[in-house]
Each structure stands twice: as C-alpha cells, then as structure tokens.
C-alpha cells in the first residue's frame, strides 16, 4: 500500500486551531488548561493529552517588519522512526500505509522514545504512566476516513492522501509561493530524516517555524542503540565462561599437585 501522508500548507492556515479541537474530540482527550503566557499558543508544547498544537512565532524582520508565523505540530510519522528502534517493549509499530502507532498497553513509561525523537513528540502521561502521541487517526484511516484534523480544517491547509501525489502538489505550491511574495518558501518532510509522513509547505525557512533545519538522531542514541546494546553485553557471558573454566581447571590442577598445594588449607607453604 502506498504511503499516506498529511500535507500542511502554512500559507493557507489561519491558526483557528480547529484541528486541535477535532483531535481532542476524536481521541477523547481531556482539556489541559495552562496559564496564559502572553501569546496565542494554547499550550507550552504538545503533552500527554494534546497530540497536536499550533505553535506561534513572532519575528522582527528588518525588511518585512513583524512576521507572525504559526505552524501545526504533531508526530511526523517518520518513514524510519527512531522511537520504534529504542522502545524496549516493541510498543511501536508501523502500519502498512505509513503511520507510526504506539500501543499504550505495551508501554511501561520508560520514556526512551521521548528522548530519542528528534522532534520531541512522544509525551509522558503521568496519570497512566505511559507515553502518548498522535496516531494519524489510524482508526479512522483504516475505515476509509481522513484524520480528524484534516477532516475539520476549514481553510484547506490540511490535505490527507497519497504521499507521492501530495509531494507533487506541495512542490507546485512552494513554486507558486516563491513567485508570489515568499522567496524563501520551501517544502519540508520529503528528505528530512529519510522522509516524513507529515509534509509541510512553508513560507519561510524551517527554522522560522521552530523546525530543525536538518533533523538528526542524536549521536548518543545511535551509539547506545547500534554499538552498546547489541555488542557490549557479550562481555558478561565471556566473564561467566572464564569463571566456569577456572572452576574446572583449578580443581583439576589442584588434584594433580595434591591437596597440600599453596592454596590448600589455609595456605601453608
């Protein structure tokens, strides 16, 4: 099955946050009320009960004046998800059409995935001691529906569909934007981290939207997963074998040298 993806077009988004409400509604997530922080953002970040959020950024550009950028953030559903690699309980799975799913029944709340994710997406839900994140509404998609956020978007900023088709659409849109007042317009998610299933059309460079320009899995995580975990542990059986060998050889040798050997009873020379 072809990869299905969500395309988010920044230039069409009005930051109404209907997607946030639809997400809460469909996933039956309770409201999280956070104190007012002096901007339009509803929450500090995604959290255990908030799978998607509109982030707001204000910039003062010497030429363009004040720029007000907003962007929808949620799980990127990476084609090669790092969360899935580090999970010691195999709680993460990849659906045939590309969603990265997390099974809370298998989760033990170790939060390895939260530290491994280059986009800082998996979040800890303290009251259940599990990690939660966007599911790309797999339960809807598998019934032929579109994700709740894409379904509800009134301005057409969110489109759900075949990844390759959406990429073509995104390219065309970015080209149009570049020619019409957004010279730095670009797309995001085609090649980043080996490809994402959440594609973006941005009116400016990714860093202006709080996205990592070149997202990378931390070297600490790679070192841990690719070197320490698979190989280093073999030292333990090696040491056990050494002790077992000594147990046998020292007794054989002792019987050859006789019990009076220097180690025998109390060690008389």
């Amino acid at each position: 099955m072809a990869n299905l993806a969500n395309l988010y077009d920044v230039s069409k988004c009005t930051a109404c946050r209907g997607c946030q409400v639809a997400c809460k509604d469909w996933n039956q997530l309770p409201a999280v009320i956070e104190p007012f922080k002096g901007n339009y953002q509803t929450h500090e970040d995604t959290n255990g009960d908030t799978f998607t959020i509109i982030n707001f950024f204000e910039y003062e550009d010497p030429v363009d004046g004040v720029r007000w950028n907003f962007i929808k953030r949620q799980c990127m559903h990476c084609l090669d998800p790092e969360c899935m690699k580090v999970c010691p309980r195999q709680a993460y799975t990849k659906t045939s059409w590309g969603a990265t799913l997390h099974d809370p029944d298998k989760c033990i709340g170790c939060q390895y995935c939260a530290a491994a994710c280059p986009f800082d997406i998996p979040k800890y839900r303290k009251r259940e001691d599990v990690i939660t994140k966007c599911t790309m509404c797999a339960d809807r998609v598998e019934e032929g529906l579109t994700p709740a956020c894409a379904r509800t978007c009134p301005s057409g900023a969110l489109t759900f569909g075949d990844r390759d088709e959406l990429l073509q659409k995104a390219e065309a849109r970015a080209k149009f934007l570049r020619a019409n007042g957004f010279p730095r317009a670009t797309i995001y998610g085609r090649v980043e981290l080996g490809g994402l299933n959440n594609l973006y059309v941005l009116t400016d460079t990714p860093d202006m939207f709080g996205l990592p320009v070149n997202p990378k899995v931390s070297g600490n995580i790679t070192f841990w997963q690719d070197w320490i975990q698979p190989y280093f542990g073999w030292l333990i059986p090696l040491m056990l074998t050494a002790s077992a060998t000594s147990f046998v050889t020292s007794r054989i040798l002792a019987s050859k040298h006789g019990e009076h050997g220097e180690h025998g009873e109390g060690g008389h020379e």
Partner: protein
C-alpha cells in the same frame, strides 16, 4: 575438594571486615542483583520469562526502582557511618605498587589454578584493588545515570541521552566484575578464607599472613606491636 573451606573456630582468627563493611557489601549484593535481573529485562529487549518472575514488565520496573533506592540507602549508610572505613579502603587502594602489578601479571595463572608465588600484598591485593576501583565507579555511574533516566523531565535532554549508554556500559562493567568477584570470593580454590572474611568478618591468621602479608604484619604482626 570442598566448594568453600570449612569455617574453623579452633585456629587463631583475625578480623578482616567489620560489621558495617559487611552490611554494606551484602546490602549491595542483594540490591545489585535485583537491579541487574530486572534491568536485563529491558537491556535484552524483552525477556518475557524474566519479566514474569517479577510480575511482568511493570513489576520488574517497580522492583528495579525500589532496589535502586535501597542501594542508594546502603551507599549513604556505608559512607556516613563507615566513613573511616571508606577512607582506609581508599588509602589502601592508593598504595598500588610493584607488588600489585606483579600480582595482576601472575593472576591469570593463579586464576586457572597453576601454583604461583606472588609478592606480599597489602590489605587488598592487586586484583582486589582493581575490583575496588572499577565496581564502585560503575555503581556510582549507575546510580547517577539511573536517577537522571528516572526523572528525565527535570534534566536537560542531552544529559538523559548520555545517561542511557552510560547506564548500559556501567551495568556491563559492574556485572563483569561481579561475575569474577562472586566466583573469586567463594569457589575459587586459591581464595581460601576470603568468603569467611566477608561473611563472618574474620579470617584464619595463617591465611591472612600468607595472602596479605603486609596487611597482617602492620595490623596484627610484629610491626603493630612495636608501635
């Protein structure tokens, strides 16, 4: 050959480890092994039967954390009440010299059971000095990285990521040392009385004289009397 030499009351014995040292040692043994087996559940990527012993993965996680706190308490008790002993321990480790290097070089032969003549040793021989440095260092790293991983929200994410591999490396390091230490301190024919030194606190005087000549002379021998 018996697994461990018989404990004999009818020969002169000298104290090797006081109560606090033994409490600390066996406290670490119990908590370390509990932490080890519950931790291996995750390190080996899902060992269902091992997890089942502790009541599933969440049960193993709980035992891991309770034991970790227990180990922390043992460390604190040992360090606070046994401060003098810890200092003496460190002082002996700092006496690392040629006799220790010779011991370590000859040790593989001794380990396999060949009769070797090693130079006189202080309270801790070359191998014990190595164990005394590596294992506590690993345990210290384990405790430190463990608490960082337990409460990732209050630490910078970079530190949490470093803790993951640090915890694993320190675990493997400590476990390797423990595998050797457990055997050498019990069933190894060359170790003789060592087990009783840590279990009952005393060792046979003749064994101490033979295996830790410098220590024996300084503590119980002629040198200590002349002072």
């Amino acid at each position: 050959m018996a697994l461990i030499p018989e404990y004999r009351n009818d020969v002169p014995r000298v104290e090797r480890f006081n109560f606090l040292a033994r409490f600390s040692h066996w406290g670490h043994t119990v908590t370390f092994l509990l932490c080890l087996f519950t931790g291996l559940v995750l390190f080996l990527d899902g060992v269902n039967w091992l997890a089942a012993i502790f009541g599933g993965y969440r049960g193993a996680g709980l035992v891991h954390r309770v034991s970790a706190v227990g180990m922390t308490i043992v460390i604190i008790i040992g360090a606070v009440f046994g401060f003098k002993g810890v200092i003496e321990w460190i002082k002996d480790l700092l006496r690392f010299g040629m006799n220790d290097i010779k011991f370590i070089m000859l040790f593989p032969l001794e380990f396999l059971g060949f009769p070797v003549k090693v130079p006189p040793q202080t309270r801790f021989n070359g191998g014990e000095k190595g164990n005394s440095i590596v294992t506590p260092t690993c345990v210290f790293l384990l405790v430190l990285s463990g608490y960082i991983m337990w409460f990732p929200a209050i630490f910078p994410v970079g530190l949490v990521r470093v803790s993951y591999w640090t915890h694993d490396i320190a675990m493997v390091g400590a476990t390797c040392m423990v595998c050797m230490h457990a055997y050498l301190g019990s069933f190894h024919p060359g170790s003789g009385e060592s087990f009783w030194g840590m279990w009952k606190g005393t060792v046979r005087a003749d064994w101490a004289k033979h295996h830790h000549a410098i220590w024996y002379d300084e503590t119980y021998g002629d040198k200590s009397k002349s002072e």
